[in-house]
């Protein structure tokens, strides 16, 4: 039993769920207290002993299904393609077909079995043959049919099986990549792709989806999305806007990590200096209990001098992504300020603080990343927006207020009204400006970076995740 538990724990760890040896022993002990033949009891027991955060529950469920349910998972829809004759690829333009055959599929580090899988997948892709699908399933799971019954009970089967499926999933991934490159090349050559060629591509895409569903893509896509140190480093260099457009899910995931980390670090920072000056009054009062001897010294709790934060973010076009990422991070640090007011602007200003303040962090993140921040998107007009802000909310800026502007200062040729920013800097504690464009792009085209820059306490580029993280981490 311990062996089985250890193997299962290894699977969980490979999915980035932290599981300690003590927990594995616990799990083994717990399972012995119960009747392990009751499936649900068994599952609940393992979950309670091995998983210590609700965030990992979903991954656990998937791993559990894979590990202890080798037959269960892939039996989904073996004859899916046969079921849906409409999906059969429309007689494709011959030229596309021919060129696709020449398209190389990379298979670094794949062994013979994996290449075989990959070929089979491609076969299916090309012909839409239901038998091909069956072959894949056989390869992914059926290789184990010959294993004697007793051995199959063991965990080894489970692991082996998992390995096979991951291989198959990887093969699907490679094919998808190949198809994508193929589609891109085709599109580059022929900007206006004929309708049936588009259908041809779409049908192939769909088949890959089917294969993937069959091969438990979830494990690959989510559970094993592990970032090595190098990758993490790479992520920090990634451009926020590009990530936002290309792979929003990844961005949200990375942000979640950053935000969690920030929240923890920040709470530590606040705790570190909890003791203040000696409080004579309270010490004397406490000394009464000990007959007048000041045995226990009472300290004053230092008053936290927090300020207010006002955020003005340009939500037009490409600034949006940066604004969203920044808002998500600021939210994690909400405790640093007494009040936070958030305003979105394009050519007018709208307050969005209420939404920002209300939800729990994970939800704000989701809201910030996905909801439209502004009711009517229009091209930005900094001058007008600043004027409106000054009229309506100018009184918010006082000596304790930090004003943060998120914007690329691309003003579409309108009046800059930079004297307003000058006034803000005088009144507010400081004015910070984050520009999603790298410094080299400032003042090119309609960018008015230089008009505003002299009046900001800090005016910096915030293009990559790393820069954003750095900025937020030193904010207080």
């Amino acid at each position: 039993m311990k062996r089985l538990m250890a193997d299962f724990a290894a699977t969980l760890r490979s999915a980035e769920v932290p599981v300690s040896t003590a927990e594995v022993l616990d799990a083994a002990r717990a399972v012995e207290t119960l009747d392990p033949l009751q499936r649900d009891l068994f599952r609940i027991t393992l979950r309670a002993t091995l998983i210590k955060s609700q965030r990992h529950h979903a991954v656990f469920e998937r791993c559990f299904a894979l590990f202890f349910d080798p037959e269960g998972a892939p039996a989904v829809a073996i004859d899916a393609p046969a079921q849906a004759p409409d999906d059969a690829p429309p007689s494709p333009p011959e030229e596309l077909e021919r060129r696709w055959r020449q398209q190389e599929v990379l298979s670094e580090g794949a062994d013979a079995a994996e290449e075989q899988l990959q070929e089979a997948l491609r076969e299916m892709l090309d012909r839409g043959d239901p038998r091909a699908l069956e072959l894949i399933r056989g390869l992914a799971t059926g290789a184990l049919r010959d294993v004697p019954q007793e051995a199959r009970e063991g965990a080894f089967t489970g692991l082996l099986l998992l390995g096979r499926r991951l291989q198959a999933a990887r093969a699907v991934g490679r094919l998808r990549e190949a198809l994508r490159r193929f589609a891109e090349a085709t599109a580059a050559e022929r900007p206006a792709l004929e309708e049936d060629a588009q259908r041809w591509l779409a049908a192939r895409e769909r088949r890959l989806d089917e294969a993937e569903a069959l091969l438990v893509d979830d494990v690959r896509a989510r559970a094993t999305r592990t970032f090595t140190a190098a990758e993490r480093q790479g992520l920090r260099g990634r451009n926020i806007v590009e990530l936002y457009l290309r792979d929003r899910e990844l961005l949200v995931e990375v942000m979640q990590r950053f935000v969690r980390k920030l929240a923890t670090v920040h709470s530590r920072r606040l705790r570190r200096r909890r003791r203040g000056q000696l409080d004579i009054k309270r010490t004397l009062r406490a000394s009464l209990r000990t007959g007048g001897a000041p045995v226990r010294l009472e300290h004053r709790r230092p008053k936290r001098r927090k300020g207010d934060l006002v955020i003005l973010c340009d939500v037009s076009g490409s600034v949006r992504a940066m604004a969203q990422a920044t808002l998500a991070m600021i939210h994690a640090l909400a405790g640093l300020w007494d009040h936070i007011r958030v305003f979105a602007f394009t050519d007018d200003v709208e307050e969005i603080s209420e939404r920002f303040a209300h939800h729990d962090p994970e939800e704000v993140l989701r809201w910030v990343m996905e909801a439209p921040l502004f009711s009517a998107p229009r091209p930005s007009n900094y001058g007008r927006a600043f004027r409106r802000f000054e009229q309506r909310y100018g009184r918010l800026l006082g000596s304790r207020t930090t004003l943060m502007v998120l914007g690329d200062a691309r003003n579409n040729g309108h009046l800059t009204e930079h004297h307003l920013v000058e006034g803000w800097q005088r009144r507010a504690r400081r004015v910070l400006w984050l520009n999603p464009e790298p410094a080299t792009a400032w003042d090119t085209g309609d960018s008015e970076a230089s008009a505003y820059r002299p009046f900001c306490t800090e005016f910096r580029a915030c293009t990559t995740l790393g820069q954003l993280e750095e900025f937020v981490a030193q904010l207080r």
Binding site: I44, T49, I51, A263
Partner: protein, 302 residues
């Protein structure tokens, strides 16, 4: 104490006490009792985390000892403290005896030595204030120890708990080590305000209680508020679902639902259709903005 012999038994016992636990809750709670592992319960406010501890104590026929955590909670509030005032009082009252002890002594050093021989009398159980953690160790038949909202305590206290939970023993310098005769059943609850340390989590069984599924919630309400009629209950459940679908700051949890259905009963309402509905909602929603929103969206104008 009576220890349940299977999750099913525990589930039945809890049901008799009108606490409806689903399979997960019953199984994990059973394991916590059987293995004497601390049980860490997380979940949104008002889903019955604290209540579960209370009901477990009742089911096992053990006393419930509760420790409410807050920022700044320290060992003297959680574990033990010397009763200084009492010690001083005794010294005052027994002044003569103290004088007698040091009577024959010549010189300060000798007097101190004479007194020190009797130090034990002042640092004995008699002058010890037992705080919840110590109480839990010293209850001979065992106890259910509820450490509520552990996420509100400081990291230092968490580290201290770690030691306590590892071997259910506490060392008091003047008295020696106090070891639990029967290890208590420990239940920790957290609202996920911050992540607890991995070390603490590792020592616990983990249970996440979410908002209950509609059927479960209905049976919970039926069990807790039997005086509400079936039709009213149905209507109320449908209404609560509508409320939760609104965009709220704090959607009502199960304990708010129970309160609210109770308040309907107290007002002797037979149906939700009347104009009184809007005045009852403050039992369900605890934020002004939420209340406004629900009243605007879901109740008829007065």
């Amino acid at each position: 104490m009576t220890q349940p012999d299977s999750p099913d038994t525990l589930q039945r016992q809890l049901a008799e006490q009108r606490y409806i636990a689903d399979d997960t809750v019953a199984t994990v709670a059973f394991l916590a009792i059987a293995m004497r592992r601390p049980l860490l319960i997380e979940g949104p406010a008002g889903v019955g985390k604290t209540e579960l501890a209370r009901q477990l104590a009742a089911a096992c026929e053990l006393p419930l000892i509760r420790l409410q955590c807050y920022e700044g909670l320290d060992e003297s509030k959680a574990l033990y403290e010397w009763a200084y005032a009492r010690q001083l009082l005794y010294i005052q009252l027994l002044k003569e005896k103290v004088d007698a002890l040091t009577d024959g002594a010549t010189g300060l050093r000798e007097a101190i030595e004479a007194l020190a021989r009797h130090e034990d009398a002042f640092f004995s159980e008699r002058f010890l204030l037992h705080r919840p953690l110590l109480q839990a160790l010293q209850t001979p038949e065992g106890a259910v120890l509820l450490i509520d909202e552990v996420d509100k305590s400081d990291p230092e206290f968490e580290a201290f708990l770690l030691e306590f939970l590892a071997d259910f023993a506490v060392t008091i310098p003047e008295l020696g080590t106090v070891r639990a005769a029967t290890p208590p059943v420990v239940v920790l609850t957290s609202n996920d305000q911050r992540d607890l340390s991995d070390a603490l989590k590792r020592r616990c069984l983990y249970l996440y209680i979410d908002y209950p599924a509609p059927e479960l919630e209905e049976s919970i309400i039926a069990a807790r508020v039997p005086e509400a009629g079936e039709s009213l209950r149905r209507e109320a459940m449908a209404f609560i679902r509508e409320v939760r679908a609104l965009d709220l700051r704090k959607p009502p949890g199960i304990s708010e639902s129970i309160d609210w259905v109770r308040s309907l009963g107290a007002l002797k309402l037979e149906t939700l259709a009347g104009p009184r509905l809007r005045y009852t909602l403050s039992a369900l929603l605890k934020h002004h903005g939420d209340l406004r929103r629900a009243i605007d969206a879901l109740t008829p104008a007065p």
